[in-house]
């Protein structure tokens, strides 16, 4: 757990005059699962988007294995192949079947062999329990199934790190589980991940490290057992309280 995959150094991101991320430094090591939590608008989703170069940043640096990730940069597409990202909304390509959704980028972007890619795609579908949906179109899938396919579509690129941005937030409650189980399975197999989620029980189960953000800064971080039982800061305590109902 020593090799750094991603290094974030003093990252600053503004939307207009509003500093959404106000100086964040953070490193993620190989095999580590980091979960970002915090109230809505605290900047955790924006942080993930900056890591993938989807947002221009106003200060600091993001590097993947020492290579800078810069929004709008010509060689950004090379770095991005090593970063898998799954979004909150279903973003499968609606004009392609499940199998083609997964196979398109390794074939077109990485120029890999079609037969090898197809075998790998089917293997991934098997792993997430969707072998029988290979030839379906996204419109024929449930939300949970779509998100599992989206995970496969990122995994097939052999990314060094997966970024999951509230991937269960738009799902019906009964589908949340099937998706989170896939993520837990990935964690067990040593996939490096950064996860933004509102599912606290899941966060506790999957994380090696929990980072609590508020107002664009890291307020508290630590091991999940420590954080969820004994949050040190008052802000974290208040946030965690909102998840329990008391009369």
């Amino acid at each position: 757990m020593s090799e750094h995959i991603i290094d974030i150094n003093n990252l600053v991101k503004h939307f207009g005059d509003n500093a959404v991320i106000d100086g964040i430094s953070l490193s993620v090591s190989k095999g580590e699962v980091v979960v970002l939590i915090g109230p809505s608008g605290c900047g955790k989703s924006t942080l993930l988007r900056c890591l993938n170069g989807l947002e221009p940043i106003q200060g600091g640096t993001v590097t993947l294995h020492g290579e800078p990730v810069i929004h709008g940069d010509k060689s950004l597409y090379k770095v991005r192949q090593k970063i898998g990202m799954v979004f909150q909304s279903y973003d499968l390509f609606p004009h392609l079947t499940v199998l083609k959704n997964i196979m398109l980028s390794p074939i077109k972007v990485q120029k890999r062999d079609k037969a090898e890619v197809e075998a790998k795609a089917r293997e991934l579908l098997e792993r997430v329990g969707l072998s029988d949906k290979a030839d379906s179109y996204p419109s024929e899938l449930s939300g949970g199934q779509k998100q599992r396919v989206a995970i496969c579509r990122s995994l097939i690129m052999d990314p060094e790190i997966m970024l999951l941005d509230e991937i269960t937030a738009a799902l019906d409650p009964e589908m949340v589980h099937e998706v989170l189980n896939v993520v837990l399975d990935l964690a067990k197999n040593g996939t490096t991940m950064m996860i933004v989620t509102h599912e606290m029980a899941f966060a506790e189960a999957v994380a090696d490290r929990v980072i609590f953000m508020d107002g664009g800064v890291i307020v508290e971080e630590g091991a999940p057992s420590e954080f969820f039982r004994n949050p040190k800061t008052e802000r974290a305590q208040r946030f965690l309280k909102t998840f329990t109902y008391t009369k």
Partner: protein, 217 residues
């Protein structure tokens, strides 16, 4: 009804319809090319090109084809640009249609959500690849109904070509009415000719649209 008359002059209508169709096809194809270029200029916000495209679209959409044709056919020769009726017809139709096509293509491109582009980029697609594999196929199918409507609209607009002395269907009908006073026969053949020209296309497009709509759901 004078059937001898109809029989005698049907070949003239067929010839005129053929001319209308040829000019229509060329003009509409050109308008699709112009439309695509304008749509891309606006979609990618290419400086200068996008402003030119916008200005052109407004000029083209807010003036009648017949006025555009008069300018091309009677006006431009005074500036040393002399075009035949056929060329004027094609250019006029392309000028008019380009703006309608541009709006349809642009509508299709804009209908592809930002999230689609972001996920393609996250997978390492480059800009052109994103366009080719992700945006274009989706945009194409959403713009089909609008494109079809444009084709029919433009085909109907070809009826003003007679104004620049192109020997099209209207021209033949007017000629026959003026020469022989067989008004009913001439008009009947005119209506029939346009029906033959437009109805099949209209039906094919309706079926196509229905099929697309079903595939989309």
């Amino acid at each position: 009804m004078d059937f001898e008359f109809i029989k005698k002059f049907t070949p003239m209508y067929v010839e005129a319809a053929r001319l209308t169709l040829i000019i229509g096809v060329i003009g509409i194809s050109l308008s699709a090319v112009i439309g695509l270029l304008c749509a891309l200029a606006k979609y990618y916000r290419i400086p200068v090109a996008r402003q030119i495209a916008s200005a052109y679209i407004e000029l083209s959409r807010n003036t009648p084809l017949i006025v555009q044709l008069f300018f091309l056919y009677f006006g431009l020769p005074k500036a040393g640009i002399v075009w035949s009726s056929e060329t004027c017809g094609i250019i006029g139709l392309a000028f008019l249609g380009g703006s309608y096509m541009a709006e349809s293509f642009l509508g299709g491109l804009k209908s592809v959500g930002k999230i689609q582009i972001e996920s393609a980029e996250s997978l390492g697609f480059r800009r052109l690849q994103t366009m080719r594999y992700i945006v274009a196929p989706q945009a194409a199918s959403t713009s089909v109904p609008a494109i079809c409507a444009n084709v029919i609209f433009l085909l109907k607009e070809t009826s003003v070509f007679s104004a620049v002395s192109l020997a099209d269907l209207m021209y033949v009908a007017k000629d026959l009415i003026g020469m022989y006073y067989n008004t009913w026969e001439a008009l009947l053949m005119l209506v029939a000719a346009y029906l033959v020209l437009i109805l099949p296309i209209s039906i094919v497009f309706t079926v196509l649209e229905r099929r697309l709509r079903r595939a989309g759901n």
